[in-house]
Symmetry: D2
Subunit: 132 residues, 4 copies
């Protein structure tokens, strides 16, 4: 479980005075990027090696609102890794208060949209991912 801190932007609020719900998925995306980075490689390395990981399924549960200027953390975990799929789960917290939980599922494809077996096509990246 990796934790990354960030601050809520004014742009992320809506007229209800809280963060607009779709933005949590942008925070999850930051969580994935930082989880990879702390594991010694970058999500960008996957793309530069010709692999894309489009989102194929997401969900989020909103427990308490997030507000402008809040200092939040996203805790990210790689739940499942197969040669053709990645599954992550997330918690958004204000200090120890849980604000939201969510999950994202990603396919592994090449630049033409074809499913890729990362284990076979890029064994080095594959073994790095297994240490995340």
């Amino acid at each position: 479980m990796h934790s990354f801190q960030f601050r809520v932007r004014y742009q992320e609020t809506d007229q209800m005075g809280v963060v607009y719900h779709a933005n949590y998925f942008v925070w999850f995306e930051m969580g994935r990027a930082e989880l990879f980075r702390r594991s010694g490689f970058r999500y960008l390395d996957l793309e530069e090696a010709g692999f894309l990981t489009p989102v194929i399924k997401v969900n989020c549960n909103y427990l308490k609102p997030a507000f402008y200027d809040d200092l939040l953390s996203v805790e990210t975990q790689l739940d499942k890794l197969t040669p053709v799929r990645l599954e992550f789960s997330y918690q958004i917290k204000r200090e120890t208060t849980l604000l939201a939980t969510g999950e994202t599922v990603h396919a592994i494809i090449d630049n033409n949209g074809k499913p890729q077996n990362l284990k076979k096509k890029a064994p080095e990246l594959w073994s790095q991912l297994q240490q995340v």
Copy 2:
């Protein structure tokens, strides 16, 4: 089931060359607004009467990518209506091709965040919502 057409904005794409996944929830929001409008009132009427409907749960399945300048439609359905909760489901289509499906669940609260029984507090709005 109500259908509303819109065009994909350049801003909605990402460097994968497709629409960034979080934007589908913005399209769902448009779908809700237009579903209400075609039923003879506005989502805004709820807010002006002192009711907010924050999202408490969402999910989305991405079947095929959406591209810049695509003319898409969001089909929106009110699946469940209780005095304290609203549940919607959505389909995003390019002509007859299904690109994504999703669901959102909303609480009904007042400006102080207190759950509200819409049926008791605003019987007129409640009966309008039942005809959606």
Copy 3:
């Protein structure tokens, strides 16, 4: 001067209860796309022919706020066209009320970031652009 109508999304508001200022540039982008479309071609045609038109300079003046669910129009005009540059100006209106004015300047480059002379490299697109 070409006019295109659209409705303000909830996502575009912020906690001030008005549209967040950066979104006007997204509306300008829609204005450009629709100006091209009404002139018989698509901005996408430029990209598919290998030309990109990145923004190199923008400004906006905000006269009156825009609100959620407002039905607005963006009026777009191609002010200047040279073989290497495009300049547009915009007005955002609620019915006849002027809410904002702005300008964007675009370079014409290829996929490698090299400036392109559209008149020489794509005379057909160039002559289409002159009729915008």
Copy 4:
């Protein structure tokens, strides 16, 4: 001149493979918030005291593109402070490379949209702002 570091989000890119231009204004907003914070108060303090500072004029010059995962900094300066107006300028940099420059002008109003003289209405906040 205050400098604040941040990383480019995937959501901020577009299909040109660079950051979409409107996002620079979101970065400027972060720059303002952090400039205030380092000066010992929060932008939020202004709002909580009943003052809003809507943007009335902006511009930006884009010199070089910003890319996904770039570690950038926004350097923010309060250029002008009158009892009814705030003017800021910004530089976006990748290490020492200047990517963009911009300016924003803000009115000072109350929750009803009425212009406010901050010096008279909130002398304490006014004197804090003068030390930014």
